[in-house]
């Protein structure tokens, strides 16, 4: 289901947006519009949708319009043209009170520099959104406590924001946004002000929370690694326009143009690409009902030392190696000879994980689904090819 739908969104900063919009429609560039009219094009014809439960990351350098974009979604900035639909409602049609109501109910926002209220203690910071909704004290404290628990800071209720470290402050910022139980989380460079280690922790924590809560998240960042790590899809912006939109893998594997290419040069692809991109189909497997002789023969034909054993429904049982087979050739079937210690990976595991496994396991790495059914295998050279 589409939660947020952005259609032809344009924002002009300046006193005479009409003129700039005309010029923009004629295809005149942003710089030229600024030179002739003095109007600044903040966003130009932005189109995208976010579905329920998705994390969409907007990545761009400063001045690319990403901060303007996120503020158009909850109308902190009024756009000049186009539509922003939240659950199908065009937010520019809302009157002032309905807009406030929409912000109170649907949006939780997290800010780059935390924007905690220094005069309020932690619990009152977290409860701020609920207080604005005029919820009574007990209920809002109760909800705020569970939000604090989500971010693991339930023991800090009475502290003031200045007593907390940056990472903890941003957890409070996140708790404040989560306390109102919003459908949508707007995260404006939420982790950019944190140092790298803490930032990594916060990213993981956000992903863990998201796995439980399934919020719709619009996340702004200037860090491509961060974008590729946490985004289900990523939008790359430049000069107020979308350069590319797609899943992290798509962006890494097929950058839209040189600009994107330049960005992904320094990206650690092994973190982004998954087993899917390195997996090859399995040609030969053994069945537990086969006799050792048959299995040995087919292994010999294919110059294999070890073979995967799967049941008829494709469930992986383990491996057998030729040595074991040769010793036990009087067994009727191989079912008792299976070595069950074979490592496996899932299709969504990153190549980085695969590399760690393959460093210890010199052979085919079976890729399985949740039912432990064999989907394919990855050889070390497949990983290298994918990363090339």
């Amino acid at each position: 289901m589409e939660k947020i739908n952005v259609v032809n969104l344009t924002k002009i900063f300046g006193s005479n947006p009409e003129k700039a919009l005309d010029l923009l429609a004629k295809g005149i560039s942003k710089d030229e519009i600024f030179n002739t009219t003095g109007q600044i094009v903040g966003l130009a014809n932005i189109n995208f949708t976010i579905s329920q439960g998705e994390i969409l990351v907007v990545m761009g350098l400063s001045g690319s319009g990403k901060s303007t974009l996120i503020r158009c979604i909850n109308r902190l900035i009024e756009h000049s043209q186009g539509q922003v639909l939240i659950d199908g409602t065009d937010i520019s049609t809302l009157d002032h009170n309905s807009l406030l109501e929409l912000r109170r109910q649907k949006f939780g926002m997290v800010f780059q520099h935390f924007a905690l209220f220094p005069h309020r203690n932690i619990i009152d910071n977290v409860a701020f959104g609920l207080e604005i909704q005029r919820m009574d004290k007990e209920l809002r404290y109760e909800k705020s406590r569970s939000a604090l628990k989500l971010v693991g800071l339930e023991d800090w209720e009475e502290a003031k924001p200045s007593q907390l470290s940056g990472g903890m402050q941003q957890r409070i910022g996140l708790a404040r946004a989560l306390a109102i139980e919003p459908d949508i989380l707007l995260m404006d460079e939420a982790f950019s002000a944190l140092d790298p280690l803490i930032r990594g922790d916060m990213q993981n924590e956000l992903l863990a929370l998201q796995a439980r809560m399934r919020k719709t998240i619009l996340f702004i960042t200037h860090d491509l690694d961060e974008a590729l790590k946490i985004g289900n899809r990523v939008i790359l912006m430049k000069d107020g326009q979308i350069v590319q939109i797609g899943a992290p893998e798509e962006i890494v594997l097929s950058p839209a143009n040189e600009y994107v290419q330049k960005f992904i040069e320094n990206v650690d692809k092994s973190k982004i690409l998954t087993a899917k991109s390195a997996m090859i189909p399995v040609n030969i497997t053994a069945s537990p009902d086969d006799s050792p002789q048959i299995v040995l023969a087919s292994m010999k034909d294919n110059c294999m030392d070890r073979i995967l054993v799967v049941k008829s429904d494709n469930t992986l049982l383990g491996t057998v190696n030729s040595k074991t087979l040769k010793i036990a050739c009087d067994e009727k079937t191989i079912v008792n000879l299976i070595d069950k210690t074979v490592p496996t990976a899932t299709i969504n595991d990153s190549l980085k994980i695969l590399i760690t496994i393959l460093a210890e396991w010199s052979g085919q790495l079976p890729i399985v689904n949740e039912q432990y059914q064999l989907l394919g295998i990855v050889n070390p050279n497949n990983v290298l090819l994918a990363l090339k």
Partner: protein, 278 residues
């Protein structure tokens, strides 16, 4: 220049004031009576209490809000005033300062808020502030007399006008300097203007407003002394008498008393402001 007739600016102002006096005197007379009664009552109550009790109360306030050092200073300072037989004058001056400050805050804080949230109000209020602050303090005394008659109420009136501007300015500043990020956060959660003002702007402006109130108290004290010229009495009255009789000793004695009172009021009001900040 000699050939150009003089602009009758003074006459215009006189006419304007006369008009106001003629039409609003009934109102100012009522205010005057009630305020005078209140002040007299306050001074009487303060005089009714034994000085040592008031000294202890003040020392406790100073110790609680400022520090034990200020507390000790308060005890010593007030004991000295008591010993110098200036107790009644001190209580009169203190009452005038507190009443004038109270009224000034009552007017100044809302005015400051208005100046912060409305551009139009700001454009009207700020030049008025400049006028109020640069006009020689004595000038306010003159029109006060036809409105409120000689005495304490006229003193309060001119003191309020003279002492208000810092609180107005600093209230306005305190509200305006709340970081735009915090305002945005408040907006993002759907706050109304009133909610923003009450839950974010005013609480964050309190230290700044308190600094303004501290200044107002100091200005009120200095004006109350000047207002002795129109019969406000108190420590200023002592100074005024000393001037008229050319008695430097008496003058300095009252002057030192004013300084002691000023230090006590300043330290206490400063620390109240800072305490809120932490």
């Amino acid at each position: 220049m000699e050939n150009i007739p003089k602009l009758p600016l003074d006459h215009w102002i006189d006419d304007g004031l006369d008009f106001l006096t003629d039409n609003f005197a009934f109102l100012t007379k009522i205010i005057s009576r009630y305020l005078e009664d209140t002040i007299d009552y306050m001074v009487e109550s303060l005089m009714y209490l034994p000085p040592w009790l008031i000294i202890i109360i003040f020392a406790l306030i100073a110790w609680r809000f400022a520090s034990y050092k200020v507390g000790i200073f308060t005890v010593l300072g007030l004991c000295l005033l008591w010993n110098l037989r200036l107790w009644e004058s001190t209580m009169e001056t203190l009452t005038l300062v507190l009443v004038a400050t109270f009224i000034a805050i009552l007017i100044a804080v809302p005015t400051g808020i208005l100046a912060a949230i409305s551009k139009l109000a700001n454009r009207i209020i700020m030049p008025l502030m400049d006028l109020m602050q640069t006009m020689p303090a004595f000038v306010y005394l003159i029109p006060a007399i036809p409105f409120f008659g000689l005495g304490t109420v006229s003193a309060i009136f001119s003191t309020v006008i003279f002492a208000m501007p810092p609180t107005i300015r600093l209230t306005c500043l305190g509200i305006k300097q709340v970081s735009p990020e915090l305002m945005e956060a408040a907006d993002a959660f759907g706050s109304t203007k009133t909610q923003k003002l009450l839950k974010v702007q005013l609480p964050l402006a309190i230290p700044t407003i308190m600094a303004g109130i501290n200044q107002t108290i100091m200005l009120a004290l200095s004006m109350v002394v000047i207002a002795a010229m129109i019969g406000a009495g108190g420590l200023g009255g002592e100074v005024w008498t000393a001037i008229q009789r050319l008695k430097p000793g008496m003058g300095f004695q009252a002057g030192i008393a004013i300084v002691i009172l000023a230090i006590i009021l300043d330290r206490i009001s400063q620390k109240i402001g800072r305490g809120k900040n932490e």
